[in-house]
């Protein structure tokens, strides 16, 4: 089992939020399916971006929700595993790749994040950037507010 050390603040925040969130009645489904669903919502974001920015925004939020939910379900039902980690990380990278195709600067950041993912795995340290979370803020400012 790969142990990935995260930043202390991430661990503390997660422990704090998990106390309440793990009490939620989450279904005992395979977390890998939830990770896979986040790829579908990323594709939906890409396909809807040209037609409706608010709809695209909904799909980014859904993608992030699903990404957060897979880990939560795994922790609640003790389904955390090395396979789950691999699926989660790979689904995140593919999701980023799909979402950032229309935004070259973000695609370059995606390439950097891919390299960080490989380094994280080989060096056993979690140094991956939460690009989609930052992108959500960017999207709100550039496409919804301005």
């Amino acid at each position: 089992m790969v142990q990935h050390s995260k930043l202390g603040i991430v661990d503390k925040t997660r422990k704090g939020t998990d106390k309440g969130l793990l009490a939620l009645p989450l279904p005992k489904i395979n977390p890998n399916i939830v990770s896979g669903m986040s790829i579908f919502t990323s594709i939906a974001f890409l396909l809807s971006f040209q037609f409706s920015k608010p709809l695209a925004f909904v799909f980014i939020v859904l993608t992030l929700l699903l990404d957060w939910l897979d880990g939560l379900i795994a922790r609640k039902h003790n389904l955390s595993s090395e396979e789950g980690y691999m699926v989660d990380v790979t689904a995140d990278r593919i999701s980023e790749g799909i979402m950032f195709i229309l935004f070259p600067i973000w695609f370059i950041l995606f390439a950097i994040n891919n390299m960080l993912t490989m380094i994280s795995f080989t060096k056993n340290r979690h140094i991956i950037l939460p690009l989609r979370h930052i992108f959500l803020v960017y999207f709100i400012i550039i496409f919804l507010l301005v």
Binding site: I43, L47, V87, G97, P104, F107, I108, N114, M118
Partner: protein, 153 residues
């Protein structure tokens, strides 16, 4: 997934997300199927038994996994500065959709060659995979045919 379905999925993704896919059809075809060329080594190795073999994760090289996606994303990021902007987006989308589809429907080894651990999303059970693939290919082929007809007329 068969190469025709990879092409059709990439074609329609480009058509909806970027537009004017027919102008880039050659690029979409090449870059949506080129990853599957790594099966050739496997076919040559297993040529005696190939009829009974599946083209699962064991037939893929490192370039068909996250390692390959990393390399391709770095190369495409550099190309953004030198080549037609939209063309790079078309090529990137063709590649990324191939990785996405392969990851969603079958077993893969995301961190190969660093780890041989295989993963499966269970979104499409193995017994349904072939019929789903055939139906999806036929449906998209029909839509593709009509979309080409509308372009010609």
């Amino acid at each position: 997934m068969n190469i025709l379905l990879h092409f059709l999925i990439a074609y329609f993704a480009v058509e909806i997300a970027i537009g004017n896919a027919w102008s880039y059809v050659i690029y979409i075809f090449i870059f949506s199927v080129i990853l599957d060329f790594d099966h050739i080594g496997y076919i040559l190795r297993e040529k005696g038994k190939i009829r009974h073999k599946k083209f699962g994760y064991e037939s893929r090289t490192r370039f068909h996994e996250l390692y390959g996606l990393t390399l391709i994303s770095v190369v495409l990021s550099v190309l953004f500065f030198f080549v037609n902007f939209v063309l790079v987006q078309v090529v990137a989308l063709s590649f990324v959709m191939h990785y996405a589809v392969d990851f969603l429907v079958g077993k893969s080894r995301p961190f190969y060659p660093y780890s041989n651990k295989d993963v499966f999303l269970h979104l499409c059970p193995d017994r349904y995979r072939a019929p789903v693939e055939v139906i999806l290919t036929i449906v998209l082929l029909v839509v593709f045919w009509f979309s080409i007809q509308s372009l010609v007329l």
